[in-house]
């Protein structure tokens, strides 16, 4: 118990003094996870909408695959990307292993199925309602997609935030492809894992508090936006 209160005191001190080491790590975490989510969303939103609207052979399998990939184990994703990027791997020449870019790629792979699957569901539901109207006014496929994505914006933002929640809290993939290198690829989750094993609980707990705060903020945003959206749709 005493150890816990000591760690807590150190954690608060680091936060209050805005410790540069700590904030460097927080900023890298945000940079990596935000980039991963934005990159994933740019491709997952149109893809999810396209799968929702277009009948093609094997669509059912694609939907099942997208839903299944939502629960990809981060360590496995990390391992596969590690193998691809490692010096002897097919993408070894890019020299990306143990860089923030590799971490962005890994998190992007983890987040992509979440956004794509939730987008597909959102657009599919909305399309049920809009289908006759959109056909009546002669909307083409791309016009349908943009209309449905815009009108599903509240739920899609929720999906994107859910993706961000997964990315920022994830440790397995980034520790493998990033290597947890100080001043280079060390993010909040990997630092917590390292500092805890080293016994430096203050730093670990300080970052833990920030992570939980971010989770609370993200979830508050989800509830606020979601609530607003459901009020609007009544």
């Amino acid at each position: 118990m005493n150890e816990f209160s000591n760690a807590f005191r150190t954690a608060l001190q680091l936060l209050v003094e805005m410790d540069p080491g700590l904030f460097e790590i927080v900023l890298l975490s945000l940079r990596v996870s935000l980039s991963a989510v934005i990159l994933a969303a740019v491709f997952a939103l149109p893809l999810g909408a396209f799968v929702a609207l277009t009948a093609f052979p094997g669509r059912r399998s694609v939907v099942i695959l997208m839903n299944a990939m939502m629960s990809l184990p981060p360590v496995v994703v990390g391992l596969v990307i590690y193998l691809l990027l490692s010096r002897t791997g097919p993408l070894g020449v890019t020299g990306l292993l143990f860089t923030p870019t590799a971490m962005i790629i890994a998190q992007c792979v983890l987040v992509f199925p979440i956004i794509a699957a939730l987008t597909r569901q959102t657009v599919f539901d909305l399309h049920e309602e809009y289908d006759e109207y959109l056909r009546s006014v002669g909307a083409g496929t791309w016009q349908k997609i943009t209309t449905l994505l815009w009108d599903g914006r509240a739920r899609l933002l929720t999906a994107i935030l859910a993706g961000f929640g997964r990315a920022i809290a994830e440790v397995g993939a980034v520790i493998i492809v990033g290597g947890n290198i100080l001043h280079s690829t060390r993010v909040m989750t990997t630092t917590i894992a390292l500092e805890t094993s080293k016994g430096d609980l203050g730093m670990a707990l300080g970052l833990g508090i920030i992570l939980v705060l971010i989770a609370v903020i993200v979830n508050t945003a989800v509830v606020t936006i979601g609530g607003g959206a459901s009020r609007r749709t009544v």
Binding site: E129, Y130, E132, Y133, R135, S136, V137, G138, A139, Q143, T147, W150, D151, R153, R232, T233, V234
Partner: protein, 241 residues
């Protein structure tokens, strides 16, 4: 009233619409020559809605043919507008709902602004242009879908039970818009199960039951004495099934 309307006559020959072996519309044939308002009248489940959607090209014919005046099959929808029983409104402001269809038709920004203002004015909705469309009252929502149809300047307006979910005041408002639409020389075909409404608005009546066309007559003649016995019972207020 001889029509100069380019989408008339509407010639329907042997139209059928079958789903899972069940005929929703069965061997329906009729010709509409004149502008004004044609009511598709009949009890619920008569197939009015399906017939309307077949005419608009939203449903595929199982058999038969539908031909609109000089219009190619591809341009039928572009020259028409349809209003549904439950207003389909986008999760945007009233003005943006109208802007959406104008954008789809490729109208320029200036043109859009002008038509949006004109259409909202026409429907008496100028004051709520910036309100979220789905927060409007039922009557305002249906008025907005009709204003949206008006903005497209269609030659034909198809209405599917436009007032079925509305109270009397809202119904009057929507009916006034429908009259104004007809007054502008548009052809209107309206599905309704409401005899009084057909009496108020219709120039001619198509009476349907169980997917079959039982009578096609001028409204006045139909209301004063339909030749079909089932239609007579329906007019008399009996529950027809």
């Amino acid at each position: 009233m001889q029509s100069q309307h380019h989408m008339l006559p509407l010639v329907v020959i042997g139209a059928s619409y079958v789903v899972d072996g069940k005929a929703i519309i069965e061997d329906v044939s009729f010709t509409i020559h004149e502008a004004g308002l044609t009511a598709l009248l009949g009890p619920n489940g008569a197939g009015k809605s399906s017939l309307l959607k077949l005419c608009h090209g939203l449903l595929p014919l199982s058999a038969g043919s539908i031909r609109w005046g000089d219009a190619d099959v591809q341009e039928v929808q572009r020259r028409q507008a349809m209003v549904f029983q439950r207003p389909v409104l986008l999760r945007r402001s009233a003005a943006e709902n109208i802007e959406h269809v104008l954008k789809l038709r490729g109208a320029s920004a200036g043109e859009r602004a002008r038509v949006i203002e004109e259409s909202l004015d026409w429907a008496g909705l100028a004051g709520i242009a910036d309100m979220p469309a789905r927060k409007l009252s039922g009557g305002e929502q249906q008025s907005l879908t009709i204003a949206r149809a008006w903005a497209l300047n269609p030659e034909v307006l198809l209405l599917d039970e436009p007032t079925a979910n509305l109270d009397p005041a809202a119904t009057r408002r929507v009916e006034d818009l429908i009259r104004s639409f007809a007054g502008a020389g548009k052809k209107i075909i309206m599905a309704t199960h409401n005899i009084a409404q057909a009496q108020r608005l219709a120039d001619e009546v198509l009476f349907l039951n169980h997917g079959r066309l039982l009578e096609h007559a001028p409204a006045e003649q139909f209301m004063s004495g339909p030749s079909d016995p089932l239609a007579a019972r329906f007019i008399a207020g009996e529950l027809v099934d």
